[in-house]
Amino acid sequence: MRPENYQAVPLGDSNEYEIFIGPNHPGIEGNYALKLILDGDTVVKGTTDAGYLHRGFEKLMEGRLWIQNLAIVPRICVPDPAPMEVSYSLAVEEIMGIDAPIRAQWIRVLQLELSRIAAHLFTFGGHAATTGMYTPMYWGVADRDLVLDLFEDFTGGRVYSIYNIPGGVRRELPEGFLEKLSHLLDYLESRQNDYDNLLFTNQIFVQRAKGVGVLSKEDALEYGVTGPNLRACGLAFDVRRDDPYLIYDQLEFDIPTQQKGDAWSRILVRRDELFQSIHILRQVIAKLPSIKGPIRTAIPNPLSWNVPAGEAYARVESSKGELAYYVVSDGGDKPYRVHVRGPSSMHAVQTLEFLAKGARIEDVAQIMFSLDACPPEVDR
């Protein structure tokens, strides 16, 4: 640094000063930045600075074949990639007028719920780390790795599986997979007490998280908040139940809600959802062996595959909220236009700015992690 660059900053009339958080900062989720104007340690105004992860996804997809797009679709949201594949596949299937076979739909549900468990375990650790507790991070990441091992077993990929294809799934489940899954679910349930004692009812965490980043139901609806963040405000909206896709209407599960809308409520909703996912997976394990049949509806040769003209909007419930793909085809071998409706752009931009206002500076990181935003999906 050249010394002649240092100049005294003239003080203004007010006591306000501005600082940057990010893009390379341990308190920021991913590659994302915030500019805060502070008075003392209270945030007067927070401005988000997105765009560090912009790759031009929607444009890239217009230049690739329908089948090639499957490779880049899961990369939009890194911690929770499975809903991306499923949503894109559902949209293309809707345009083509085909349905995935029943068995493929059950396997897709299995993949979606496993992915939700992995994403939530990851979030617990991240959220706890912003309050200075690092043990949940170690536990959460270690338990998530067990889920990733199963992913590797049945899809071949640890993080990005690229397992779905319009018309079904690519491979049959390996032998003995459901038993392994059953063991994992037993293990995760046995960890419930440990996690409760360590994190969810731990006073060190509760005192920090209670009453931080309170979002009322009206504000949440106004800002387009979905998913666990909306359910933490007391509104039981879940795409899985209110607009069922795949075979979710045949499954039994609760929609966990909380009333307060603060950071603690949000993490409690995620905790309950994790155990609901385990409940769903148990039903899948019980039902799946009795469902026989193909796992894929035949599609034409993928290299010269023209999807008929039309448009479709397919939405799924990801671990972050409502995720949807709007796909338009003009009858060619490539999409005419693809738009991604990601939950995180609503959470991480306007909602975060709204909640940061008036918060204390040490809570800003916690608010961001409690919203569980996914920066690669904000920028796309």
């Binding site: 341990p26 560090y52 990005y160």
Partner: protein, 238 residues
């Protein structure tokens, strides 16, 4: 004033280098290299997807700490810069600023195929394709995305390179930034525009370390001198 001081310092270092008569000097050098390779602080700039495999590599299961590598939060105290994934143009500016702030000796690891050649986003308008056009890279870990084992293997290679640096000159890519600054600056200017400048005066540092080469100066550094002016505090906003 400042420039004079720098000159004096660089003369001193040159003299010291000539007067190495201590017979134990090589032993000390080896010992220092050994220690350096066993304790590394790592700054992971989470530029892209690859960052998701770092928490497993750092925490209990794969445990990076047993290699003597720990995450560090500030660039000035870090030894390794991990660039994890594709770098968009907006991010690359910050990566270069971060890299220049780090104290030598410093090492760069490019994780994921995207840092090697653009990877999956080879046709994207928003990303910089090859990282080593903008800064010297020590080790690349290819894959989309590399598994934690691959990350650990890459870090192990870097450790070996550092340990054998004096014999094989493999762990000294950072010297290349000073020796060929003109090349790197030219690529940065092509991407960010001719008025690109950073707060760090790389040429002065090159003089200080005694690492000036023929490639340090050139047409691009001349352009830099034309536009260079002291950065005002307000202008240091990115």
């Amino acid at each position: 004033m400042m420039k004079k001081e720098l000159k004096i310092k660089s003369n001193k270092t040159n003299q010291q280098k000539q007067k190495r008569t201590n017979p134990l000097a090589n032993v000390f050098d080896d010992f220092i290299d050994f220690c350096q390779s066993k304790s590394l602080f790592m700054l992971h700039y989470c530029t892209g997807c690859g960052a998701i495999e770092l928490p497993p590599a750092m925490t209990s299961r794969f445990d990076m700490e047993r290699l003597g590598i720990q995450p560090m939060v500030t660039p000035r105290q870090a030894d390794i810069l991990l660039v994890t994934g594709y770098v968009s143009v907006k991010t690359l500016k910050r990566v270069i600023l971060t890299y220049e702030q780090m104290q030598a000796p410093k090492y760069v690891i490019g994780i994921c195929s995207c840092t090697v050649n653009g990877g999956m986003y080879w046709q994207s308008y928003a990303t910089a394709k090859k990282l080593n056009e903008y800064m010297p890279v020590d080790v690349y870990i290819a894959g989309c995305m590399p598994r934690p084992e691959a990350v650990l293997e890459g870090l192990n290679r870097l450790k070996n390179n550092i340990k054998n640096d004096r014999k094989e000159q493999k762990g000294s890519a950072w010297k290349d930034y000073y020796k060929n600054y003109d090349y790197y600056l030219g690529n940065q200017q092509n991407l960010f525009g001719k008025e690109w400048q950073t707060p760090v005066d790389v040429i002065a540092e090159a003089k200080l370390y005694g690492l000036e080469g023929e490639g340090t100066y050139g047409e691009n550094t001349k352009k830099l001198k034309m536009v260079q002016h002291p950065l005002l505090p307000q202008e240091m906003k990115l």
